[in-house]
């Protein structure tokens, strides 16, 4: 029992460190080699946990070896384009100038249903609006619509707009985030002033508040428990 407890803690620390080294990308966006490493690491980690007759070092050696290989593969893919396309593959143009490239669909084993689903996930219901669609190496679909189908932007309309300062969280669950306050060039006295104007005495009464330091303020007071 104690062995499993300690082994679990050791394996947990090692896996968290290993995944941290692999980067911050989400699981759905893993490259092929990263996916293989993630699957193998989880598999290797469970072996010494399930059977205390297997030395912990067996799991650790394989995890560390996989991690080192992944680091070296990543470094090699950054250095060599050929190696990168060998390991990760190349993006495939699935729709070219509005036409579905059937040979690419076939070589990527990408069905029409999957294409329609991927487009729907990007809020595109009508395939005829798509000028280009590229199947990326991580399996996601990137799209580019025909010019006439794209949303009108201020630059297209010839309207001059100024970039807004992005609002940041200044109070989170009653706690004042001083770093974010100084980021928008404000301090706590300004914050208290704003709160008193809204009839709130203390930041502890606020559930969530964002501000850009000027006029854009979002405030959600805490619900009063009955």
């Amino acid at each position: 029992m104690a062995i499993i407890f300690f082994r679990t803690i050791i394996i947990f620390i090692i896996i968290v460190a290993a995944l941290r080294f692999m980067g911050k990308r989400q699981l759905g966006e893993l490259e092929l080699s990263e996916l293989v490493v993630a699957v193998l690491i989880s598999e290797q980690a469970t072996l010494p946990l399930q059977d205390i007759g297997i030395p912990l070092i067996h799991g650790l050696v394989s995890i560390i070896t996989l991690l080192c290989c992944e680091l070296l593969i990543t470094a090699a893919t950054l250095k060599s384009l050929k190696f990168r396309s060998f390991i990760c593959g190349k993006p495939s143009v699935i729709i070219d100038e509005g036409n579905i490239v059937q040979s690419e669909m076939k070589s990527n084993s990408f069905s029409l249903d999957e294409l329609a689903e991927a487009l729907r996930k990007k809020d595109i219901i009508d395939i005829s609006k798509v000028r280009y669609a590229v199947l990326e190496t991580d399996g996601t679909l990137s799209t580019c619509l025909f010019e006439k189908e794209q949303a009108a932007t201020p630059s297209v309309m010839g309207i001059d707009v100024k970039d807004k300062v992005i609002p940041v969280s200044v109070i989170s669950d009653g706690r004042v985030l001083s770093d974010n306050l100084s980021l928008i060039g404000r301090d706590e006295s300004w914050l208290r002033q704003i709160l008193s104007r809204k009839g709130i005495e203390s930041p502890t009464e606020v559930y969530y508040m964002t501000s850009d330091g000027k006029s854009d303020i979002f405030l959600a007071a805490k619900e009063i428990r009955k």
Binding site: G53, I54, P55, V61, C69, L71, L72
Partner: protein
């Protein structure tokens, strides 16, 4: 670049550690093998006192090496060798030449299998 250097250093350390581990296990098993074999020869000549001494030496040596082996090889393999060494010792105490030789051969086979499992060969890899 620092990450890659650490990765290469770690891989090299693991590789060197694996080779060193094979060497240490080979040294442990070959010495154990020799003691059990000598005990078997003595038992064959019905020199039970010498056979007992060799066996005790083998058991003592095995117990001493266990702490290291527990970290690197499967515990079931260690238990198998421990149990066959104990059976061998029991037969020597009982002074039955035929059964002693049989148990000795079984112990030798299991000691050899530990070395073979840890050694890198085409067969063990695939």
């Amino acid at each position: 670049m620092r990450k890659e250097i650490v990765a290469i250093a770690l891989l090299a350390a693991l590789f060197a550690g694996s080779l060193l581990n094979i060497k240490i296990i080979r040294r442990i098993t070959s010495s154990l093998y020799d003691n059990v074999l000598s005990a078997m020869n003595c038992a064959d000549q019905e020199d039970w006192n010498s056979a007992g001494e060799y066996t005790e030496r083998a058991v003592w040596q095995w117990d001493k090496s266990k702490r290291y082996l527990m970290v690197f090889i499967r515990h079931t393999e260690i238990d198998t060798v421990s149990s066959s060494l104990n059976d061998f010792r029991t037969e020597i105490i009982n002074r039955d030449p035929d059964r002693t030789i049989g148990m000795g051969e079984k112990a030798l086979e299991q000691i050899k299998s530990i070395e073979e499992t840890e050694s890198v060969s085409f067969g063990s890899l695939f």
